[in-house]
């Protein structure tokens, strides 16, 4: 017999049963009973953020750095609406989150009560699923189902809206084992005929390429291991989306670097010229494909994805395989080995010769300056001084994000936290807090732009309160760099509202919060300043004053295919044509 308990106690008990160690949240009237229960226990740690958006991004950072779901607890009305950006971010990047929101009591729903919002209505399109729990009897089972839905199939955020009277009322607790999970059971094993078809294509392909994405990371460490084994054994080159960095090590011999709008020359040309494209856990996003009718025109395409709606959504594939990446790769390897481990060695050797030729372009080269710090140089030095350490990198959104993806190397999955799909400025700082909570002794760096960073700067309070030694590496160009770059390329250098005139003194700002501030503007001082940041045991704001008008290259102008890349300043004149100008 299970015993009766209040709804609020049930919430805490259900989280405990689900193995939750940390909750990111912010209290308010409609969740007070749950906060009272949190107060009276020590199993679950609550991290008090400074804004609900920060709670969700922190939970995302925690989830991405651990592979476990992140948990958020916020109040009704503004608490829930402030969380919406983070929830949408998690949906776009397939991050498992359980968001618990308070709600006005059931008898007040619909009366426009104080701090009432139609939370399930507002979040219906930005969650994988959501529930309004109107009866304490179904509360614990709903929370268990929420964890099941968030973490199975393609992961994503779910939300459980809990009215205050449901938190106060008592009912019998349903343990995890008795929760209903049968109605959501996505397929994880791929179709064997299709897998055999793919293996046959691998055996004969002359110019194959692996195009991998966040699905490999989400599938778990085994997926990355299997991918590495398959890539090494077949000798096939591999590139990855922004979301998939770290699944295959940057130091691996088959690594081409990131692909896409700001991807590497060799990676994009390999995509354009391949005859077999093997998409593993990516979704043919518009940042990746560029102009669709000229996307990899001569290739057969395979697509491994756990979400059936990703298949043939954008690009039609010859080998659609619906299943979890780890399960499918295991079967691909098994079939490939059983059939004699065949590949078209001679042709792949010629393919590599072509790729090596493309690599000579050295598309990431830049001209360092003795006077000002180039942002690329700053990241190259950060990479050199932190390589090999137990390191986690977060980013905000913009030029710095692309430079971080280009100049930092990721050797393992779950080490790279960035807002890919939604492109949420303000993501990185709270995400770095979530990562540091998960890995207290690791080096956690948020590579930021000053504009993005200011969007959630209130979380300095959280970092200081919990003594989280997160390093905020702000590349300060006093500009919205990516907006400025597009205005230069597309809008006749009319820099409409893309610079800040009243930036704070970041060193004083750090000190005001009780943290350490470092400013660096001279390339000669950069290494010492970075070392000083790394050596400090506590949160640091590193104000790195960089070249103000640097552009991010390589770049595929919107509306162009992979083989029309811009490599540097000289090639940017009239780069974006009429058709491309309407795109973001």
């Amino acid at each position: 017999m299970t015993k009766a308990m209040t709804g609020a106690k049930m919430v805490v008990q259900a989280l405990r049963d689900q193995g939750v160690e940390v909750v990111f949240g912010y209290p308010g009237g409609a969740v007070l009973p749950i906060y009272d229960e949190i107060f009276q226990q020590n199993d679950i740690r609550h991290i008090l953020v400074r804004h609900e958006q920060g709670a969700v991004h922190a939970a995302e950072g925690y989830a991405r750095a651990t592979g476990k779901p992140g948990v958020v607890l916020v109040t009704s009305g503004p608490g829930a609406t402030n969380a919406v950006t983070g929830i949408t971010d998690a949906l776009m990047d397939s991050i498992p989150l359980i968001v618990l929101t308070g709600q006005v009591p059931t008898f007040m729903i619909g009366s426009d009560g104080f701090q009432e919002a139609d939370t399930v209505g507002i979040t219906r399109p930005c969650t994988k699923h959501n529930w309004l729990v109107k009866d304490t009897h179904s509360l614990s089972a709903t929370i268990h189902e929420a964890f099941h839905v968030a973490t199975n199939g393609r992961p994503g955020p779910v939300l459980v809206d809990i009215p205050k009277d449901v938190q106060f009322a008592s009912a019998e607790y349903q343990p995890k084992a008795r929760a209903k999970t049968d109605r959501y059971q996505p397929k994880v094993k791929g179709d064997m005929d299709m897998i055999t078809g793919l293996v046959e294509a691998i055996e004969t392909a002359e110019r194959p390429v692996f195009y991998t994405g966040g699905g490999v990371i989400n599938s778990g460490p085994a997926a990355s291991q299997l991918l590495r084994e398959l890539v090494e054994a077949t000798g096939i080159p591999i590139t990855s989306t922004l979301m998939g960095l770290g699944a295959y090590p940057a130091s691996g011999r088959n690594w081409l670097g990131m692909l896409g709008m700001h991807g590497l020359y060799e990676a994009n040309l390999a995509m354009h010229g391949c005859d077999l494209m093997i998409n593993v856990g990516a979704r043919f996003d518009d940042r990746i494909t560029g102009r669709l009718d000229a996307f990899s025109p001569r290739s057969r395409k395979a697509h491994i994805d756990v979400d059936p709606s990703s298949i043939n959504k954008v690009v039609q594939t010859e080998f659609p395989i619906i299943g979890d990446v780890a399960h499918v790769l295991e079967d691909v390897l098994k079939v490939w080995k059983a059939r004699g481990r065949k590949v078209n060695r001679d042709a792949i050797q010629r393919w590599w010769a072509q790729i090596e030729d493309w690599k000579k372009t050295d598309c990431l080269s830049f001209k360092p300056s003795p006077k000002t710090i180039k942002p690329q140089h700053a990241l190259a030095r950060l990479e050199a001084l932190t390589k090999g350490r137990d390191r986690y990198i977060c980013t905000e959104v913009g030029q710095h994000q692309m430079w971080a993806a280009q100049y930092l190397g990721f050797e393992d999955p779950n080490r790279w936290m960035t807002s890919g799909g939604l492109g949420t400025m303000g993501y990185g700082f709270p995400a770095s807090i979530g990562v540091q909570i998960a890995h207290p002794d690791a080096l956690v760096i948020n590579v930021a732009g000053e504009a993005s960073w200011l969007m959630n700067m209130q979380e300095m309070g959280t970092a200081v309160q919990y003594r989280l030694p997160v390093k905020q590496f702000i590349m300060n160009n006093e500009r919205l760099g990516m907006v400025r770059q597009w205005q230069e390329l597309l809008h006749g250098e009319r820099y409409s509202h893309s610079w800040s005139e009243a930036l704070p003194d970041f060193v004083k700002l750090a000190e005001a919060f009780g943290a350490k501030g470092i400013q660096c503007s001279d390339p000669a001082d950069l290494d010492d300043a970075i070392e000083e940041m790394l050596a400090y045991d506590g949160p640091v704001i590193f104000d790195c004053l960089v070249e103000k008008h640097e552009n991010c290259f390589p770049m595929i102008p919107s509306g162009e295919p992979h083989n029309k890349m811009l490599l540097g300043e000289a090639s940017t004149q009239d780069a974006i044509k009429e058709g491309g100008a309407v795109l973001v």
């Binding site: 560029g290 669709l292 009718d293 006749g492 100008a581 795109l583």
Partner: protein
Amino acid sequence: MTALNIKKGSTKHSAYNLRPSFSEEIETHTLAVLVDNEAGVLARVIGLFSGRGYNIESLTVAEVDHEGHRSRITIVTTGTPQVIEQIKAQLGRMVPVHDVHDLTVEGRSVERELALLKVEGTGDKRVEALRLADIFRAQAVDSTLTSFVFQITGTPEKVDAFADLMRPLGLVEVARTGVAALSRSVQK
């Protein structure tokens, strides 16, 4: 760089021009979607269609299994073959959705709709309306000296045809249920 003169709706070669190589032919499909009858399930389905820009020609919903809390949603939608496939995949991955059947491709099916039509008029027009109703096997379910309410069941095309004929005879109001559909049984 000169000011760009972008034509409205100029999305040729755009990242959102999602179907360059797919068939562009618009097809009409009838989908039967079995869902848990729970709060918000219809909003979820409708939100999917509006949020992703799919069309709804008609939609009916009612509980069909009271004990199992199952409802059946019948949706008539239009789109290219690739969009239709997307709609089915998007519906299929929703948590409260148990089954999605495309009645248009899964063998033959029966489609029926019920409509009520109010026709006002006197004299010859009134007689003609009654005569046509008889031909269409529509029933007069309400009548006054100057009006009828006809009830007609049939395929949407039959209802359309009847409404077209009633229009010159004094049609003032129409209420339609939308399509309910079932696949036909196979002779064993």
